[in-house]
Amino acid sequence: MSEHWYMLTLVGRDRPGIVARITRALYEGGCHLGETSMMRLGGNFTVMMMVQYAGTAKALEQLVAGEADSLGLKLHVDRVEGGRQQAVEPDVRITVYGADRPGIVAHVTGALADAGLDILDLISDIGGSEEAPIYILHLEGRALQGIPALASALEIVKGEGVDAQLTPIETMVG
């Protein structure tokens, strides 16, 4: 039987041991994991896993539904294209931070997209105190129109009340 790739997503209240229980169920069901990302977002457990599996999406859901239910997690499965190695190398890293307010991400990523940024990786955090929260955005990506174009876009964004750092990524292969 041919193997398919699925994107399996779980979201819910965090507690210790979720990853172990879910991946055990997948392993015993004959699945093989690809790239995976688990994060706590706002105190919630979230995980997205590339799963290689010979059966249908429905059958894959049934493999983990028992554990997901007992852990109180929402489960979602999509058939996807892709495979084990899909790495694209970033050539630029950008950090943006400032006093938290609505619209930072939309504004900054809009300006960067217009300047040719293809985002490969995005993480954001909220720090600072409750009265004065700070929003911190990390991006890695490809500068499709070159790094100077992104640097110029960031200069404009910085004039509008956030701080930003741009670092070229020069991958050393030895």
């Binding site: 190695q85 790495a87 190398e89 970033p90 890293r93 950090t95 990786d121 993480i123 911190i136 990390h138 890695e140 070229p168 990524i169 020069e170 991958t171 050393m172 292969v173 030895g174």
Partner: protein
């Protein structure tokens, strides 16, 4: 001259420590020529260590001079044949992305000293002192690690490490 076969992780030999070179003879120089040809044939091609081709002697080559655009802040010492290299001083820290001919299709973030000073013999047995910084210093540290059975995989840091964890590394890794 010949292009040698690169051994790839999970081959356990990559985790072996290499022995110092004793004889600076024609056989050594022939091997260095082959190692250099192998390095230049590879992707990136700025560094290689003897254990990557299955020879467990303390020999590395680094050459960043052929890069289309040398990254800002990097020294450029040209072709460096480093035999029995000893890093003697480390200064500063920087996170950078590394890949390895022995670990295809994967790159990751690694923290290295920004500047290093080191001694090494050349292929004729003469001892030299060097100082490198930036990208070139990263290449030297990456290759020197191979001689101790260390891969960049042993030094990966998480994506969130960049801003907040720099100090931890210095305490653990300056030795």
């Amino acid at each position: 001259m010949a292009i040698l076969e690169i051994i790839k992780y999970p081959d356990p030999r990559l985790k072996e420590a290499s022995q110092p070179v004793q004889a600076f003879d024609d056989a050594l120089r022939d091997f260095v020529a082959d190692l250099e040809e192998t390095m230049r044939a590879g992707p990136g091609g700025v560094g290689i260590a003897a254990p990557q081709v299955g020879r467990f002697e303390r020999i590395v080559i680094v050459d960043v001079s052929g890069m289309r655009k040398l990254p800002a802040g990097s020294s450029n010492s040209g072709r460096l044949v480093l035999i029995n290299p000893e890093i003697t001083e480390w200064e500063g820290m920087a996170m950078g992305r590394e890949g390895c001919m022995s670990v295809p299709d994967y790159t990751g973030n690694v923290i290295r000293a920004e500047k290093v000073r080191f001694t090494a013999h050349d292929e004729f047995g003469e001892l030299h002192e060097y100082a490198c910084e930036g990208y070139e210093a990263r290449a030297v540290q990456h290759e020197a690690d191979h001689l101790d059975g260390m891969l960049f995989l042993d030094r990966l840091v998480s994506r969130r490490t960049d801003l907040f964890r720099r100090k931890v590394y210095q305490q653990k890794d300056k030795r």
